[in-house]
């Protein structure tokens, strides 16, 4: 449709600013490059909002259903067979438009915030170039019209994440963290690629519209029912393909057991953590499952979707437990992010498909939206605090309320939102998730319910320990409120966090793309229970941390081993190190390296040495005397002539 013909500009503008800033990073000095990047993002933000308005309120709704709009840039971009070709196109549908708004809003706020935060950094222009690259890749990812395009952009966001985590490349820990993030996500992407190829093989298309159409999943379901398709360990191969694709999503979204890179990724600058590792890139896995939702739901009785639910619920609980004990504020937030993404996965996994049954799907997308706002806000506020205190650790903070009133208020708003206290954004989305989970399975609901309480507790532990608790003596260097650019981003996101919950999301985004009506029943015991749970978490945190007390020490001492294990993140990192270093390196890699060095290299060296020795023997033929060569030549000719005559 022609009303979206401008849409290719949305990813193109950040790409152009990236190229421009990348090539001129040495010449353009500090504030200018930031202004260029921010101006580009402002245009993208405007276009995204316009697209959202146009799609949701003007042209998108056709006969009571949000029809996807596909803008083809190039048909048959990569051509395999007549049936199987990859197009280059842009898909505009409810979730891609929603993601456009999320990505451009958070990215714009981070651009503005970084004007203050990165002030005086020698890599200022480089930072903005990378931010533009990331924004380009992420926008491309959400608008991709087929699986292969999404894979290309998937890798591009991986690269930009790698570059930004390793932004302070003088620091060995940052370099190690960036490598870890890249390798872990690449490992997951390997499965993703295999999954894509399998889906492409069976469905004969990579295009989302074709894949998600009833014709495709009914055909495949028919094969499965008639046993016309391979099965492996009791599951059809197509379900395995979907699970493999989900493993790719697990890597990007830091689901257990591929979550190990996310806490370390906090080595990057804090605005980057807010943009990439809280709001946008890490929810790519959720987005991916939502993209292929009809396939996940209809194939094999939604088995793959139940895997999503179980992994999500477990990760939510696991990360929330770890977050209770961490000391580094960014790590608490990182585990909190992992936990909330687990929530989204869980909501997707428990969802149905049609009408009100698709509540979980809508709740997941809603939570993605609100979480992006308040988690970015939390990270940016944490950045402001770190900027003021020059430390990541809670023990160096305390009593900041009187120095940083704005940060304190927005942090409180975000913490209330993530805990699920009305009327802040998180309450609405979280409540929909819990309602959907309750309808599906009481046990999963119970996990979500417990996690809600833990979330409230660790967020307020953070809040009280940063802004109240002990009055730390900061010496001559008093902490100060963030500069205007940073405060602006904080206040804007704070307002978003307050109002975002009132968006009637179910009217816009749903699994079958048909709007339905859903609203909060205020008197519902479920709602009351979850709010009470959150309130009790907050109360407990206030009791333990509002003033310096010895309760935390007593509790941790009483927990004994459990506390030590939690504090060390259940030794998952050590387990990985053991598996890779002790088992894979020692017992697989070293024998292979020996074989390569001795057998393969040895054979090649033998060839070389033999040639050299032979040459040493016969080099005396090359006398340099012309008569000798003529002699060889004439004798050769005579010999050949004699042979020809003799054998004729």
């Amino acid at each position: 449709m022609s009303e979206f013909s401008y849409i290719y500009l949305i990813p193109l503008i950040p790409l152009l600013t990236f190229l421009f800033l990348g090539f001129t990073a040495k010449k353009i000095k500090e504030p200018v490059s930031g202004y260029i990047g921010t101006a580009g993002l402002l245009a993208v933000f405007g276009l995204s909002l316009y697209t959202a308005y146009q799609y949701f309120f003007v042209s998108g709704l056709v006969n009571g259903k949000y029809e996807p709009v596909k803008i083809m840039i190039r048909e048959g971009w990569v051509h395999f067979t007549d049936k199987l070709a990859i197009d280059l196109g842009i898909l505009v549908d409810p979730i891609s438009v929603m993601m456009l708004v999320v990505v451009s809003t958070i990215s714009l706020m981070v651009h503005i915030y970084s004007l203050g935060y990165m002030h005086g950094d020698s890599g200022f222009s480089r930072f903005y170039a990378y931010l533009s690259l990331f924004t380009f890749s992420m926008l491309g990812l959400v608008m991709s019209s087929n699986l292969f395009m999404i894979y290309i952009f998937w890798e591009l966001v991986g690269v930009s994440s790698f570059l930004l985590i390793g932004f302070y490349f003088e620091k060995p820990s940052a370099v190690a963290a960036s490598k870890k993030a890249f390798i872990v996500t690449r490992f997951a992407d390997m499965f993703f690629l295999i999954g894509i190829l399998m889906v492409g093989y069976f469905a004969q298309s990579f295009d989302f519209e074709t894949l998600n159409s009833p014709a495709t999943y009914q055909t495949i379901q028919g094969w499965i029912a008639n046993h016309q398709i391979f099965s492996f360990m009791g599951l059809s191969i197509f379900t395995w393909a979907l699970i493999l694709i989900y493993i790719g999503g697990m890597g990007k979204s830091a689901m257990f057991p591929l979550h190990i890179w996310l806490p370390d990724a906090m080595e990057g600058p804090t605005p980057v953590s807010a943009l990439i590792h809280a709001a946008t890139m890490v929810v790519a896995g959720v987005f991916l499952v939502a993209r292929l939702y009809p396939l996940y739901y209809h194939i094999d009785g939604a088995f793959a979707l139940r895997v999503v639910a179980v992994v999500g619920a477990f990760s939510a609980l696991f990360a929330a437990i770890i977050a209770l004990t961490q000391e580094d504020i960014k790590r608490v937030l990182a585990f909190s992010t992992m936990s909330q993404i687990g929530y989204m996965m869980m909501a997707l996994g428990v969802s149905g498909f049609e009408g009100h049954e698709g509540l979980g799907y809508m709740a997941s997308m809603f939570h993605l939206f609100t979480h992006a706002m308040f988690k970015a806000l939390l990270f940016l506020t944490a950045g402001a605090i770190i900027h003021a205190v020059h430390s990541n650790f809670m023990k160096d903070m305390g009593g900041l309320n009187k120095y940083m009133p704005v940060s304190s208020i927005v942090f409180l708003i975000a913490a209330l939102a993530i805990s699920g206290i009305p009327p802040f954004a998180g309450f609405f989305s979280k409540d929909e998730i819990l309602a959907a989970a309750f309808e599906y399975n009481k046990f999963i609901w119970f996990i979500g319910f417990i996690v809600a309480g833990m979330t409230a507790f660790y967020m307020f532990r953070l809040y009280f320990r940063i802004f109240f608790n002990k009055q730390t003596d900061y010496g001559d260097h008093k902490p100060h409120e963030a500069p205007f650019t940073m405060a602006f981003a904080l206040v804007f996101l704070g307002l978003m966090t307050i109002v975002a919950g009132f968006i009637p999301f179910s009217e816009l985004v749903s699994a079958d793309r048909m709007p339905f009506h859903s609203h909060i029943h205020w008197g519902d015991p479920l709602v009351i229970a979850s709010v009470l749970m959150a309130a009790s978490g907050i109360g407990l945190a206030a009791f333990m941390y509002y003033k310096p007390t010895d309760y935390p020490d007593k509790v941790s001492a009483a927990m004994g081993k459990a506390y030590v294990w939690t504090k060390n993140k259940f030794y998952i990192d050590e387990l990985y190190l053991f598996i890779t270093h002790k088992i894979i390196f020692d017992h697989v890699s070293k024998p292979i390296a020996w074989f390569d060095r001795n057998v393969i290299d040895g054979f090649m060296n033998l060839l070389g040495v033999t040639t050299e020795k032979l040459a040493e023997r016969i080099k005396f033929l090359q006398t340099g005397r012309m008569q000798d060569y003529a002699m060889y030549f004439v004798s050769g000719v005579i010999a050949i002539v004699m042979l020809v005559i003799y054998f004729r």
């Binding site: 080099k619 005396f620 006398t623 340099g624 005397r625 012309m626 008569q627 003529a630 004439v634």
Partner: protein
């Protein structure tokens, strides 16, 4: 076709000429003399072309045309060789191939 002279006699002459050329090429070390020997070999072939053309298939002209080519080629080649020899003399002040054998193992 020359009266009283057979192809065998002409080809004997050219063979003798050719091997004189080879003998000269292999034994002389003076580059000018070697060039002359080379010319002998080339001319023996040119005669062969004409004679075989005339005696065996007199109604076509290819052999004679070839011999014209060979003459032209020989002239060009001589010019080139002389230039190389002159240059060599300027560099090394000798035209004896035994003195110039740097290009070896």
């Amino acid at each position: 076709m020359i009266e009283g002279v057979s192809l065998f006699e002409i080809m004997s002459l050219t063979t003798i000429l050719f091997f004189i050329g080879i003998y000269g090429f292999l034994t002389r070390t003076n580059l000018i003399a070697m060039l002359m020997s080379l010319e002998l070999m080339v001319n023996a072939e040119a005669i062969n072309f004409v004679a075989i053309n005339k005696y065996l298939s007199p109604h076509v002209l290819q052999g004679q045309v070839f011999s014209l080519f060979i003459i032209a080629l020989a002239a060009a080649e001589t010019a080139l060789a002389l230039a190389i020899i002159l240059h060599l003399y300027r560099l090394t002040e000798t035209i004896d191939v035994k003195e110039v054998e740097e290009l070896k193992y």
